[in-house]
């Protein structure tokens, strides 16, 4: 009997240690971070105007701080800090000049000419000329895989101060591209530029400990207003580690998620930043068909009345309360609050009307409470990316809410390796939101050469919508283009809104949440785009301590 007892204990020990082994890795990493934090802390006792900010580990630019590989101009756009840009976006997402003193576009929209300041120097002392600008853009066009530069044919330096962008097609929103591409020095650019970036921006990258932290110092020769914050340290860590770091009083700004928002940390307060970081799901607007082994379209969601019923059958307020603890705003489009947003996208939650729509479209309730029509069940699978707890919770809530109007939604976690192909026939919980109207184009415009010639991410096609967007890209001023982007959403008769084709359902914009140390004045933020990372430090130069 004794032997048995010992063996049982051994087995228990074995099991525990195996599990601990898995958990141990994470712990170890955390411990390592902590010791680094202490180092940072000691350095900062010098008493300069410095700040320590945490960011998700995914924010660390894998290929370094090179715009050609996505720094600033990648999937998540932000100001590149180290480099300066020709233009910059204002708080209301319009455009103002930075390096450029003037820019204009030719009549046919095929040539953009920009004149730049002549008093700007890189941090190595060399002057920044139009040749550097041309080099940067040509380099991006050649190498960038994360951002689209296909509309650019070539950039040419006419003289020291003037650069000409020759386009392959009219692209009226070029200033938004100019706002995210940091200018690199031609003379100091090689393959390792991303590791030791030289720029003309507000900050100089002093130190980069990969997997841990980046330290920036103010550029003393900056041509604009000198940065108030002299030193910025960015630490990369997961949300739970960031929370622990804030609890230990080791960071000044800690990014966090809604699920941690009920925590109170002494000496810190919760700051929320409005975003266009939206979540929504696609509804394939096409009868199913197959091509190259991929199914395009969905029999249930191809009915426009179904899509309309879903759009007004979802109580977004309840969803924000349930999933985001109230930290979010209702979303009706991919570009809420942007200058190119059309407020016609807004709808009222109306469950009764949703039921009515389905009844009228002959989706009749069966015995199990789920609707049916001609043998097709009112059901779909809503996918979300594995491990994203917010998207999972949103999907669950959609499922619960749509059940009330007789639609059965099954949720399923998937990896991004299969998600894109499957989303052609099944709804997927997406996250979008960028500081450029191009996102409307990417989501709603058809692509003749890809897939089955419909919109890229979810089958949808509407010639009128396409035409407005094509025209918007051909206008000579941004103001005109805003109007056309809005018309693409709803022109009074057709579009992508509730009364139109409604091929995507938008649920909410997720507030970006931060624990901010008392006494730190974080400057007003412009509406953050998708991505909980670098946007917060867009204006770190204007932060200050009380």
């Amino acid at each position: 009997m004794k032997k048995k007892l010992i063996s049982i204990l051994c087995a228990a020990g074995l099991a525990a240690s195996l599990l601990a082994g898995c958990a141990g890795q994470a712990d170890h990493k955390g411990a390592k971070k902590e010791s680094d934090l202490e180092k940072v802390q000691q350095k900062d006792d010098a008493g300069e105007a410095s700040v320590i900010v945490t960011m998700p580990t995914t924010s660390e630019p894998e290929a370094g701080f090179d715009p050609a590989y996505g720094w600033g101009a990648g999937e998540h756009v932000h100001e590149p800090l180290i480099q300066s840009t020709l233009t910059t976006t204002t708080k209301d997402l319009k455009i103002e000049n930075d390096l450029a003193v003037d820019y204009h576009v030719s009549e046919d929209g095929l040539t953009w000419t920009a004149t730049i300041r002549d008093d700007v120097k890189f941090t190595d002392g060399e002057p920044l000329t139009a040749r550097d600008v041309a080099f940067t853009y040509n380099n991006c066009k050649e190498k960038s895989t994360v951002n689209d530069f296909t509309m650019l044919k070539e950039a040419v330096a006419v003289d020291d101060k003037t650069v000409e962008f020759r386009m392959t097609k009219p692209f009226s929103i070029w200033p938004y591209t100019m706002a995210i591409v940091g200018i690199v020095p031609e003379h100091a650019y090689d393959e390792s530029y991303g590791q030791n970036p030289i720029g003309s921006g507000r900050y100089i990258m002093k130190q980069w400990d990969k997997g841990q932290q980046v330290i920036f110092e103010a550029n003393p020769d900056y041509y604009g207003e000198p940065p108030k914050m002299k030193k910025v340290t960015v630490l990369f860590m997961e949300e739970d580690a960031a929370l622990a770091a804030a609890m230990a009083d080791q960071v000044d700004v800690a990014h966090t998620a809604a699920s941690y928002s009920d925590q109170t940390i002494e000496g810190y307060s919760l700051m929320k930043v409005q975003t266009v970081d939206n979540r929504g799901f696609n509804l394939p607007a096409l009868e199913p068909r197959e091509k190259d082994g991929i199914t395009y379209g969905n029999a249930f969601t191809s009915d426009v009345n179904v899509r309309r019923a879903i759009n007004i059958g979802i109580d977004r307020d309840e969803m924000i309360e349930n999933v985001l603890n109230g930290y979010g705003t209702k979303a009706y489009s991919v570009c809420d609050k942007m200058p190119w947003y059309n407020s016609e996208c807004e709808v009222e939650y109306d469950q009764e009307k949703a039921r009515q729509l389905l009844d009228d479209a002959l989706w009749k309730e069966g015995e199990d409470g789920i609707r049916e029509k001609d043998g097709v069940k009112a059901a779909f699978t809503l996918m979300f990316s594995n491990g994203d707890s917010v998207r999972q919770a949103l999907a669950e809530d959609v499922s619960n809410q749509l059940k009330e109007i007789g639609i059965e939604v099954t949720t399923e976690g998937v990896g991004w390796d299969v998600a894109y192909d499957r989303a052609q026939s099944e709804p997927l919980m997406w996250g979008w939101g960028a500081h450029t109207p191009m996102e409307l184009y990417n989501i709603y415009h058809t692509l003749a050469q890809k897939g089955i010639g419909q919109a890229q991410y979810s089958p949808y096609a509407n010639e009128t919508v396409d035409r407005y967007m094509d025209e918007a890209l051909k206008t000579s001023t941004l103001e005109e283009s805003y109007e056309l982007w809005q018309k693409a959403q709803w022109d009074g008769t057709t579009g992508i809104t509730q009364e139109g084709d409604i091929p995507w359902i938008w649920l909410c914009n997720i507030d970006h949440l931060y624990f901010v140390k008392d006494g730190l004045r974080v400057a007003d933020q412009k509406i953050h785009p998708h991505g909980h990372g670098w946007s917060i430090v867009n204006n770190v130069d204007q932060w200050s301590w009380e």
């Binding site: 048995k4 063996s7 049982i8 087995a11 228990a12 074995l14 099991a15 525990a16 195996l18 599990l19 898995c22 958990a23 994470a26 949300e239 739970d240 929370l243 622990a244 699920s259 941690y260 009920d262 925590q263 349930n322 999933v323 594995n386 491990g387 707890s389 999972q392 919770a393 669950e396 809530d397 499922s399 619960n400 949720t411 399923e412 976690g413 998937v414 990896g415």
Partner: protein
């Protein structure tokens, strides 16, 4: 218990253990729906009378999820252990009886597989098969046979040379007769014990590979998913998300281990002397 002999006590222990495991499996079958139902009105509840294991951030009943997760693990364990044991039996016997070359090849494969960390191979197989239940099941099934195969090979080789089998052959008994009447009964205890002892390994490896994100997808109530989700909330003091499912997993592993020991005692003639 004192008035019962060892054999009877072992039998009782085995039956009780099996009954608990069966109860978990049956319980798991019945809460398939409950384990997936989310209800935001009851999210993040600590353990109480209605929800003895508490609820998570989607308002899912952790008791139902734990039961379902464990039963899923057991199911997977049964499949994986059965396949593994069959492979082990076939290869073990083949190595011992089909001559030198076959033996060399099989021994090499066994050594090769034992040389690679289980979890690594498991992840590779699981990912190659597209993750999910099938991926993990085949991953576990195809990685757990080498040690048992080696045991069976050694056992059969020893048996082949033993006097009573040599005599049986000299008496003109067929191979099939020798295998059926002499070898199998002798091998059975080792095989059964080995089979049952594969379970805890299989279950723990399933949990690990899912925990690491290479197994079942995250809407499934698998124990590895539950534990990895709970990691995010431990820092906010939601201890119940990890404690109960973790303890339940350990308990099941211990039960299987005890059952394996009991089976050995019942079937192995040598244990009479203990």
């Amino acid at each position: 218990m004192r008035d019962k002999n060892l054999r009877q006590r072992v039998l009782i222990g085995l039956i009780v253990g099996a009954a608990i495991l069966l109860a978990i499996c049956v319980g798991g079958l019945f809460c398939a729906e409950a384990a997936k139902t989310s209800d935001f009105t009851r999210k993040n509840l600590p353990p109480c009378l209605t929800y003895p294991f508490g609820t998570d951030w989607l308002g899912r009943d952790m008791l139902a999820r734990t039961l379902r997760g464990i039963s899923l693990s057991i199911l997977l364990g049964i499949f994986a252990a059965a396949v593994s044991a069959c492979i082990a039996l076939l290869l073990g016997i083949a190595a011992a009886t089909l001559g030198r070359t076959a033996d060399a090849v099989i021994t090499f494969v066994i050594d090769l597989l034992l040389g690679i960390p289980h979890i690594l191979l498991l992840i590779l197989i699981s990912v190659a098969l597209g993750k999910g239940f099938a991926g993990v099941a085949w991953g576990v099934a195809l990685t757990h046979w080498p040690s048992l195969a080696r045991l069976i090979r050694a056992e059969v080789m020893q048996l082949k040379e033993s006097p009573y089998i040599q005599i049986a052959r000299k008496l003109g008994k067929t191979n099939w007769y020798v295998a059926r009447k002499h070898m199998l009964p002798h091998l059975l205890p080792q095989f059964l014990t080995g089979l049952v002892l594969l379970f805890p390994h299989a279950i723990l490896h399933e949990a690990s590979v899912t925990f690491l994100g290479f197994g079942l997808s995250s809407e499934q109530p698998a124990i590895g998913i539950i534990l990895s989700e709970s990691m995010k909330y431990l820092v906010t003091g939601k201890w119940w998300l990890a404690l109960f499912p973790g303890a339940a997993l350990v308990m099941v592993v211990v039960l299987f281990y005890a059952a394996g020991e009991n089976v050995r005692k019942l079937t192995d003639p040598a244990s009479v002397h203990e």
